[in-house]
Symmetry: C2
Subunit: 340 residues, 2 copies
């Protein structure tokens, strides 16, 4: 049963549990600081496929299969998969999931998709609409570059604020019982548009959305930074993360910097891996959450984590037509209840 807390937060009284998860990644991500935590690293980022889009589908599929295997369930025991991605018409997901025979609820949140899918899965499981669901998403550097910027073969230059799309995917199994990390609360985001038009500075476009949702979560629940072990954003990168911390100081008088991490910063070694402002893409927060962060939570090292993935809700066409970049962020409160 969902309990509405304040204006926007939902408390999930039946405590849906992430009983299994898997994060897979590409070669570059495997060489980064979190390499050892991924469930599988595709040293060949074509994943044996002939196109980058098919490679992304294969990587997405791999994450789901690995999470499912860990859960010990068969596909016919899942009532729904909540998935989506940034490829046009979400083909990274639809072709990745095609063979599973599990009912599919497509979700779209750009790079916030992992959090959106988890919010949905948690509400469905909590309400009894499902016993077991999967939330998943993916991205691929080459399919994203080709679609959003230039084919990689062009060797185009990148600006300092630009981010590097993660080749990777994450999948989480959400169940109504079992061992794992509880989804205690969720908070859906609003579309925030402060007029940023630089498609090479997504972090700046998305930071206001992260601020809006995390602020709403604090206001609704009465929780503070001190109640959390980590506030982890999806892919604000270096520029967007600094902006988010500044907004909390300026608008709320709160210093979140000591608890704030960003998957886009964590996944690469920013000094050595030439990724400018850090990682991005649906697969960034998905692969980091479903491997590194959930591992640290399951071990008891982290007890309460506010996972807030952000998305930029534009398209190449909208940007070419002079539109600004609306952002969104969805938050999920993850708790290791066993460890208190």
């Amino acid at each position: 049963m969902a309990q509405r807390i304040g204006k926007r937060t939902l408390g999930l009284l039946n405590h849906p549990v992430i009983t299994a998860s898997a994060g897979v990644a590409g070669k570059k991500e495997g060489e980064g600081p979190l390499g050892k935590d991924f469930d599988y690293i595709f040293d060949d980022t074509t994943a044996g496929e002939k196109t980058w889009e098919k490679a992304e589908s294969t990587i997405h599929k791999e994450a789901i299969i690995r999470a499912k295997e860990k859960s010990g369930k068969d596909f016919d025991e899942f009532q729904l998969i909540f998935a989506g991605d940034l490829l046009n018409q979400c083909v990274g997901s639809t072709f990745g999931l095609r063979d599973f025979g599990v009912p599919f609820a497509g979700v779209y949140g750009a790079c916030s998709t992992m959090a959106l899918g988890l919010c949905m899965a948690a509400v469905f499981v909590d309400s009894g609409a499902a016993n077991a669901c999967i939330a998943s998403t993916s991205s691929h550097f080459c399919s994203a570059e080709k679609q959003f910027r230039f084919p990689v073969e062009y060797g185009s230059q990148r600006t300092p604020a630009a981010q590097w799309t993660v080749t990777g995917a994450g999948a989480a199994v959400v169940e109504n019982e079992g061992k794992g990390i509880c989804i205690e609360k969720v908070c859906f985001g609003r579309i925030m548009d402060l007029g940023v038009t630089d498609a090479n500075n997504m972090g700046a476009a998305m930071a206001p959305a992260a601020f809006d949702t995390i602020s709403a979560f604090f206001d609704d629940t009465g929780m503070s930074v001190d109640d959390l072990d980590m506030i982890v954003t999806g892919d604000l990168g270096f520029v967007g993360s600094r902006l988010l911390c500044e907004m909390f100081v300026d608008e709320k008088g709160i210093d979140i910097s000591k608890k704030h991490c960003d998957c886009g910063i964590m996944i690469y070694n920013l000094d050595e891996q030439d990724v400018n402002s850090g990682g991005s893409g649906c697969g960034c927060s998905a692969s980091v959450l479903c491997s590194h962060i959930l591992k640290r939570m399951n071990s008891g090292e982290l007890k309460r984590v506010l996972f807030t993935a952000t998305g930029a809700l534009m398209s190449p066409v909208s940007s070419m037509q002079g539109e600004s970049i609306p952002g969104i962020a969805h938050s999920v409160l993850l708790v290791n209840r066993k460890e208190g």
Copy 2:
């Protein structure tokens, strides 16, 4: 509280209600048989905008505003909008909804989006996660032609099985109480791919998905064709509709033809409006459901309608790469409870 019925159907025991809805459409749709039922007709299908994408956003926005006005609620009384569309990165929705300040859960089901959004909204309201939600979607002939086929200025020829993308949008307000049409049951679809590769014959690609979901609904609930006043699909068109009826005869020995209608056939005069196999697009089933069908239900003429919108889960890129077209269909059982 959602009650799981059989393998895939959900019974919504708290009876979420569609308290208000609005369907808007373009000039051609306004000249069709349902013209008098639309809440607004854009005689100028640019909607006063400079690009087709912005026109689609404006049309989408208009449907939401009109549904909201009818509900008598302010935007801050809605907990969520479930919306999506077929433009790359769903910009018809994200830019259409940007100003409302309502939390946004993006959904992606291609042309099945209206049914997917209604399923989601119904489960959220039924479970207490929301008191009031909106489900909406849109399509525009010119933005779709430009993105999926050719810019209309090219004047390219169409094949007989091709469909005509509806310029239109629909929005439905789903609440936990009030007068209107109940959402009694929902059934989420699986991805079905029978290997159809002709992107000019979407009806054939989607018919197996409609068959799969409607069959699951009948199997789960024990209901039959005789228990329904109408089985309405989204946009199978003439070709896909005939296939669906044939599949029911061949596989199940059931004649659904006397109860089956298709929004893509209803919205145009197929003999005179030069639309080949009929209408398509997210806005097809959305505009027809949210105006014509719900009007007939509210008047008591139709008491039990199974609304099953279908989607083709491909992209122009996947088709060019030789992939087949996966289909999906989500079903919603709508009931006028007042009229028994």
